[in-house]
Amino acid sequence: MSFRIESFGLLTTVQDLGRRGYQHLGVGPGGAMDEVSHRLANLLVGNPAEAATLELTLSGPTLQFKTETLIALCGADLSPTIAGQPVPLWRPVLVGTGTQLRFGRPVEGVRCYLAVEGGVQVPGVMGSTSTHLSAGFGGFQGRPLKVGDRVEPGPGSGERYPSLRRRFRQGQSLFLAPDWFVPWSRDLDFIRPSVLRFLPGPQWPLLTSASRQSLLESAFQVAPNSDRMGLRMQGPKLSLERPLEMVSSGVATGTLQLPPDGSLILLMADRQTTGGYPRLGEVASVDLPRAAQLRPGETLRLAPMALPEAQALLLDREVRFRELEGVLTELQSR
């Protein structure tokens, strides 16, 4: 069981739920930018949530499957096709031996997660399979995938969705998916402007009142130099009442930093572990997958939210994940 990269996309990396327990050594968490899509793709093929997936960015690669493989695609719609036929997202898909999976025009979102039954098999470094791009370790040899790379899935049961497998083997098609899907795309909300809810932080009251007002009332554009480290925002310049000298302190994924040039940066998965810029707050974790799917040039708005509410939404999402796991376990036995 393996597949081969026939053409590489803009940026295709191996990711998991991130590296934990090394931030005190300056090693950030990394991991899937959109953890909801990553987890769903894994659950659909019967993997644990932390199994490694491929994170495809805007223009996907072309993959050749050497054997029959159970896959799932979740997140951005990058027009996946097999032999010209569209491959549906948000559901398990059986692909046949020798099949070529291609991607085309990005329809909505930025990052699509490809899970294979058994997970992408790469050695873990510091307890994680995610790719640390700047230091060049983890994932697939510490780098994005390129043409000719052979990716090996780990051992899968090969027995999930038995009736789907039977139908697939009796038919003539190159791939087969059930007609149901997990309706979680609303968690990503592809409607623009996207609304990111944030918890005001310690330097929020130090903004000028005009800056506070423009932050809450303006639309921001995602700048072209946004990447896995952070989303840079273009919009009204924001300023503090008076300059603030700060020493470096821990930051989080979701931290909204205000550098001296007055343009907001939203820290994402490949962020640094500490920072010295004023912190206006943190985007609620439930809204980070949505942020991960914003393209350069797209618009967003920021809306304040209280911490207890943000944590309640996060706990609620975990309950939905557990319920879904139960449903999928049942479906995978049929």
């Binding site: 327990g21 510091m126 700047s134 640094q272 974790s285 944590q311 706990l315």
Partner: protein, 245 residues
């Protein structure tokens, strides 16, 4: 905006503020101060020892300790997960004894100064109106405190530089500073663990590998350690580099 929770006790007060919905900051003082930083490392050591459920990362900085956690592990009690974990931190800090911090680890770093290893040594010497030998002597006389690690994997923020050898950053940053380079930038000195672009004045280089991701302990240096630089010649540098391979 919620008011930060505080507690007074034998230990100086601890302030807790949210760092989003999956992390919080324990604030133990302000600025760059050895006493404040001692308290940060004391709290970090205490939390590592008690190993609270759902705590994923502890990130000591100059005056704060970031605690990254899974809110699920702190749900189901009274109030939000943030409130539950904050209560527990304040309780632990209140009960923490005065003399619970282990002595800091001492690390010696061999450095070959000047020449190809330290292309900016001459400039630093001229900026500080000292001879190159005096810059080396003052740089190696001090014991440095590792206040925190950040910026990039294994990059240590050192405190304790002799003010007479503080030199401004280079006007134009280098596009690639080799791994192991020892630099000065204002009142800061540090070692580049991996090759990166950088604007610090490079006065020497260590053959020690500071960051090895495949190792069980990937970083040679840890936050809270004490560090001294020991001058070595080019021959010793090469011998050390060979041995380390």
């Amino acid at each position: 905006m919620p008011t930060p929770s505080t507690v007074s006790s034998r230990n100086p007060p601890l302030q807790v503020e949210a760092l989003g919905d999956r992390a919080l900051l324990a604030i133990l003082g302000q600025g760059i101060d050895p006493g404040v930083n001692d308290r940060v490392h004391k709290l970090a050591a205490l939390l590592r020892k008690v190993n609270l459920p759902g705590v994923l990362d502890l990130v000591p900085a100059y005056a704060t300790l970031a605690v990254h956690y899974d809110p699920v592990a702190w749900s189901g009690g009274e109030g939000s997960p943030h409130e539950a974990l904050t209560r527990e931190l304040l309780r632990l800090w209140k009960g923490a004894g005065k003399a619970s911090t282990p002595p800091p680890r001492q690390v010696e770093i061999p450095v070959c100064f000047g020449g190809a290893f330290g292309p900016d040594l001459a400039e630093v010497a001229s900026l500080c109106a000292l001879s190159e030998e005096e810059v080396i002597a003052r740089h190696t006389a001090a014991t440095y405190r590792i206040y925190m690690i950040g910026f990039s994997p294994g990059f240590a923020y050192l405190g304790g530089l002799d003010a007479t050898i503080a030199a401004p950053r280079r006007a134009t940053p280098r596009t690639r500073v080799p791994a192991g380079s020892v630099g000065i930038a204002g009142m800061q000195t540090g070692i580049y663990p991996v090759a990166t672009p950088g604007g610090w004045q490079i006065i020497g280089q260590t053959p020690m590998r500071l960051f090895l991701p495949e190792r069980e302990h990937p970083c040679l240096l840890g936050p809270g350690d004490r560090l001294r630089f020991v001058p070595v010649d080019a021959e010793a540098f090469r011998a050390y580099a060979e041995k380390g391979r």
